[in-house]
Symmetry: C2
Subunit: 228 residues, 2 copies
């Protein structure tokens, strides 16, 4: 059984994988993701290599082994189910649940997790729209596009908010920018590096591209949204 420290390293490596490529995560990036100095990360990764959780190439980076990935997915499943439980059952704000889940993800047993999963009706996405891995490690991620890459005047639906920062999440919530919300891109301004959108009944709002990139959307067509 891995320690919670090891679980955190595994999770961060998993999350960093941008595509499904067998690409390596640089040690510096891992260190800052986990919140330790580079030397600490190097030492840790070496011992994790001993236990076959990762593949490490000095001066290149680190990648999960199959066993490592499987463990990472279990941690991620706990994290996201806990987040959803905190929001749906206990009524916490979606901006604050990430920090709480960061602790609880290491303390929830399989049995308790299974009960929470059932209580929530075997959900597939967490409050931020992130997919919840299944108990046997499958991730069914919905296809999505980054908002600034979308055409204007097409109906879109928010799939996911790719940012855990409480301030950003609070702002998003106040503007109706939650998973399932429908919106259209009204204008895209290359020079101002901004995007103007209109959400549901709200007034139009303008976001800088870097903020808009955190909003992942899908085409909404004429169909009804099925949120969560």
């Amino acid at each position: 059984m891995p320690t919670s420290t090891v679980e955190n390293y595994l999770k961060q490596i998993y999350i960093d994988q941008p595509t499904d490529e067998a690409t390596m995560m640089p040690m510096g990036r891992l260190a800052s993701a986990v919140g330790v100095t580079p030397g600490t990360a190097t030492a840790m990764i070496k011992t994790m290599t001993e236990s076959d959780l990762v593949v490490y190439e000095p001066r290149t980076g680190v990648r999960l082994s199959p066993e490592g990935e499987s463990l990472a997915l279990q941690v991620l499943r706990r994290h996201r189910l806990v987040e959803l439980w905190l929001v749906e059952i206990l009524g916490l704000d979606w901006s604050e649940v990430h920090e709480e889940a960061e602790v609880l993800e290491h303390a929830i047993s399989d049995k308790v997790l299974a009960r929470i999963d059932a209580l929530l009706g075997h959900p597939t996405v967490d409050p931020h729209g992130d997919p919840i891995p299944t108990a046997d490690g499958d991730v069914v991620a919905r296809a999505h596009t980054s908002l600034p890459r979308c055409e204007t005047d097409k109906p879109l639906r928010i799939v996911r908010i790719a940012d855990q920062d409480p301030e950003f999440l609070t702002y998003a919530d106040q503007n109706g920018l939650v998973p399932g919300a429908r919106l259209i891109v009204e204008r895209r301004d290359r020079i101002a590096d901004a995007v103007t959108i209109r959400v549901g009944g709200h007034d139009p709002i303008t976001l800088g591209t870097s903020a808009a990139e955190r909003l992942l959307v899908e085409p909404a067509d004429g169909q009804t949204a099925d949120p969560r």
Copy 2:
């Protein structure tokens, strides 16, 4: 903020206090309660003395300081609320919740605890009948007597089961020996060191004194039981 190790030491010292006396817990007993060797306990208690959590007298024992007691009560509150949540909301068996709570008691934030408390309707006792300390550290324990010390043929009600062993708890549950259950002592046999009781609709059962001592009861009079 104390580590979870420190929280465990504090909790064990608190639980050991038999009466409300300012008596000392011997180091050997503490060590085995926490599950470490005596040398480890001595070292730990010394550092806890530095932080004014305990009062330590070499070769005599250890006792909680006021600050230590306050922290211990917070841990105990978390433990017992979590146990009740596991039983009442998630439907786990009362025989298995102690172990689960042993981990979760260190991972639950004040905010989450407050929500769970509200969800449960601000309960006063846990699934085993142990009192749940209030948020500001009051413990309202109901008066009780150990079963073997009771008169025969008087109506009694179980207040508390003072044992966390899953086997014992499963046995108790199967025989209707749960908090709130009514029973009478049919016979007390000094020589056989046993007590025969009759619970609700069940057949009479005979318990050895040492097992019966784990059952804490109160007089039931004619009044209706108000369980929990």
